[in-house]
Symmetry: D2
Subunit: 360 residues, 4 copies
């Protein structure tokens, strides 16, 4: 059954993200940024009062609290089973088993399911992926990924900081701390840009803050499917670091470097040639990068715009779906979520065994 | 008469900014970004077909073309006279006389009138202003402002580029080219951050591209009201520059440096002490900077968010107005617009007389 | 008369630069760096004790104090008249008249006379000059030069700081403060890189520190001989700035940017193309840049090496002179010194007349 | 027996470093830079002709070729046995056994033996060490070291490049390629700055270039003696990288970051406080950093000056030795060389066993 979605904004609902969270507003801004969709309903908190006040702050037409006792996966499943497309924040599920079940459900329902690995939304990241896939850097040999934060260097979870509390609580976050929260972003970015799968990992996880139950720091050696080698390091105890996601990829022809905190720039490094500073919004950028840019070069776009770029592709696919056309993709899907959950399991296994190599 | 605006989004209309313009979408995104207002009506183009298709692309409820023959100032006046608050892009008017008339009308109508000198919306800029006004850098001695672009280094106006065409056409842009388009942003930023007025200018304007009728480059010496000295240089023929607005302010105690293209960073320079890298979103930032930040530090916010920050203050004031409360301000107003028009007149006069000092 | 200089190090003497000065050691290191010359004699101070101890610290074979009452120009003249090649620090003379006399003497004696405008010694500067002269950036349109320091932002001259004292004392430094000390470096660098002469200047000099008799800050508008426009700003009261000499040159084809404090990098900016990061020591650099590089790329060379590069060319010419061959040049000469003195005179004149345009 | 070394330059001899090598000139410049020593003799090549011409180019008084058939260690031993102080380039010996013998000999002879881990000579590195040892960053938790080059990304060893040939030849370089050539610099820098020893390593070495016999890339997980964790990655196939030695250290109080290619800057990162940009030559730097600085801040010093700083301490100790005083040290010694050789052995062992943890 097709719907005529061509003459109106799409309508979206949000579960979670109530007042006190920052990612709720990120999703609302991102889904609405390009004027193609609007949030009209929400079940924004398990707490009825907060759900109501959160909805009122956004002038939502409908506010619910009925999902208040549900786990994340059940929420997602409930919407899918009602034929509603889903954009899901990461981590996708609580554990690997749930992830596998979700894959099955999505395949069966033929609905759009997108995962907000939002860093894939940056134009410079999309151009990096384009450069690799088009052969501009040759065969990938070495990948260096780092994601450094400092905000958990003290026991913030004991100070009433809810963001810190759930991230360091195994009953809420499962088996992974920093590697689930930020390490999976690094893993996804690596695979997104290089088009290569991680084949083996050797991990050394640490909980540096006393009494913390989940890792707040991780160092990993990687081997990729094509023989390339790599490093992934993530930390939430790296004093003074804000949101330092950086990726460098070296191939047989050239290298690439991208920093999330200066996201509109991509460095192309060629041995014996001047490095090139590629900039979002410039005419030499690839079509997929151009499509993710709203402003002329030099007018910085940031985290919200990248987030909105994920939604932009999803919205386009929902419209296509309404018109009976096949989706075009380009955003992270349920399979990325499954790979992320698998990554977590393997990394934890490696570290728990003392830092041994584990196959993916 | 007060209105209860507290329980709904504000409704906005837009004049101009139809398809082919980039600033139209900027205004729409900015006004709606924080979920406090929405664009519901537009007269987006003098061309009926474009007005209609522009409105449809945004799913606007109402589309008009009736302002198609009106000059900018008449549009603004028409709305003000109907008691409608106005957010106006810069340049505010075609000439100084119109600017003076508009000041009178705004004063008389007691409506909100905001001018989108959008660079004042960046948190780091607001913090810079805070540091100067709180005495952190001492008495200002020297100010260096530059705004460098390269996109008009060739005669783009002859290639069908509409953006280039109106900016270089005296019948559309009046007496000023680059100094009106970008120089006034530099002037406004200087006065916004330092709280000081320019007292005298000595300007050397040039139209480097053959047959261009308006300046595409300007170098200016400045003297400020407190005895400080400065430079303002702007250019649209600076090869390879994107949108290079940079300001440096040196006082008797410390110096400041801010780059629009890396907008979340502000450098504080102290003689004989380490320079400090101040970052938007950090707890040490001033309340006015914090209020202009949506995301944790390290999650870059950019041009659109800064633009939305101007709207955010305007929306708050419109709500206060609806509740019968006095406006709080904090955004550029009709007086900034008047000063900008005066700046243009004086700079052109200085240059036309061969580069002499002209009093403000 | 030729001398066989091919089989031994050259022997150099130094006048001035005794203990307490930093530039004395700079010259000694620079002249000796490449193993082609050695300092064997010195009259390093007007104070006999300091002259002796300075010479002893360097193990000099011969120490003199006989020049103790002589002005700079007389020292230089004395050596030239004895047929001794001279490398002279800047400012070359006390005033313009002396500069003109020195030009005559050098022309008459046919000796090597080099002026240590040492910033011309950086490989990236030499490459910038090469790019301009080879047409890579097209016709120069705009030049921005800045030289910012903060070390005189307080009245250091009253604290026993000898370096500050002579620079702010008209009886020692003549009519110019910051423009003589650092502004002339900017002027020389501009002309060295662009190959263009300054034709007109409009200057606004200030002595910000109370009771200071010479300028500690200057803002200047420039017009070059080919119609290009420019700005030169220098300051010694720019809080927190160390030795911030920066030049940007924009032509009809491309732009260049170089920072003395990151001297091994030169940025080439092309409209609509990625900026290129050119690095000293790379194979794509021009022969004159390569000849000024001792180490592989990525092994930073700095101020001393650049200084030594000036000496390197001088030493080569002295050897050529000894062999009866014509000098090859490439280093600043007595004519650069004359232009620098003229620059000072014109800038001071412009400012004293209220900031008017003065012809060179 | 003491010697009166106080009234003359020290005399040095050099073995190796003849024409075609770049490190020979580095040593000569470094030893002579501060005017405290001079190279008077050399056995600069195994090839008699090259030895002679190399010596002549430097105007050496004495040139030898008699060490032409000797291995490095034998040369060093010969000098030590004649009571001559030795400054030795790294790698110190061919293998671990020789390193142990050399330690014994040095201990027995009571002579100065310095190893040119030259990166310890940078003022910013010395200040970093000071900050760690003084407790300014608290207890070290995480260390990230990278040393990235690209110059061996192609089989340069087959093109007549002698520098590439010996580095990739097991008969010349022993069991290690990149980890011996540059990895040991990283290891030494880590231990120098943190004052901590590496306790365990898990390494993954690769020879990416076809038919290359020694590693050209290495990724390593580290565990330090105090429980800190770390990463060390080095590569000579990282396209476009020049000499990218970078170290970041995160403690319980603050973090540090230093880049060899911008060596005069040290970043101090404090959670919730502005990052501080510490600069060589500033008055707030520690005495050991100040002593390693020749010029005012902002006048860049580089690789040669850092190299000379190692020599500077050695020369001071040789003078002290001549006066019968105890050495003060501060430069890498034979024990650092031994640790470096041990590091190589352990890393290779780890990798050959498939990437397992190996104890130091």
């Amino acid at each position: 059954m097709t719907q005529d979605l061509s003459r109106r904004k799409l309508r979206a609902g949000i579960v979670g993200g109530g007042q006190g969270s920052f990612i709720g507003a990120v999703h609302r801004i991102a889904v609405e940024l390009d004027g193609q969709a609007e949030v009209v309903a929400g079940a924004m908190s398990a707490d009825a009062g907060r759900a109501e006040s959160s909805a009122r702050a956004w002038y939502l037409q409908r506010s619910y609290t009925s999902y208040r006792d549900m786990a994340l996966t059940e929420v997602v499943r409930a919407f899918l089973e009602q034929g509603i497309h889903v954009v899901c924040d990461k981590p996708m599920t609580f554990n690997l088993e749930e992830a596998r079940e979700l894959v099955q459900l999505v395949e069966q329902k033929k609905l759009i399911f997108a995962l907000t690995h939002n860093y894939t939304g940056y134009p410079a990241v999309r151009h990096a992926r384009h450069l690799v896939s088009s052969g501009a850097i040759g065969t990938v040999r070495k990948v260096l990924v780092e994601y450094l934060q400092g905000w958990l260097m003290e026991p913030e979870e004991n100070t009433g900081n809810k963001q810190a509390a759930w991230r360091t609580d195994p009953s809420k976050s499962g088996i992974a701390g920093s590697i689930g929260d930020i390490g999976t972003h690094g893993e996804n970015l690596l695979e997104y840009i290089t088009g290569l799968k991680i084949k083996q990992v050797c991990a050394d996880l640490t909980a540096f803050v006393e009494n913390r139950q989940l890792d707040d720091d991780a160092n990993m050696l990687l081997r990729l499917e094509n023989g390339a080698k790599g490093i992934l390091t993530c930390s939430q105890i790296a004093a003074g670091e804000e949101n330092g996601l950086v990726i460098r990829v070296y191939g047989t022809q050239a290298g690439l470097e991208w920093h999330q905190m200066e996201p509109n720039t991509l460095i192309l490094k060629q041995q014996g040639q001047p490095s090139q500073v590629l900039r979002a919004g410039q005419p030499y950028m690839s079509p997929e990068a151009q499509a993710a840019t709203r402003l002329p070069a030099g007018h910085p776009e940031g985290f919200l715009e990248a987030f909105a770029n994920v939604y932009k592709l999803v919205i386009a696919d929902i419209r296509r779906s309404g018109a009976g056309e096949a989706p075009l993709g380009g955003y992270p899907t349920v399979y990325d979520g499954l790979r992320g959950m698998n990554f977590i399991v393997k990394v934890v296994e490696s570290s728990q065994k003392g830092g041994v190599w584990v196959d993916f």
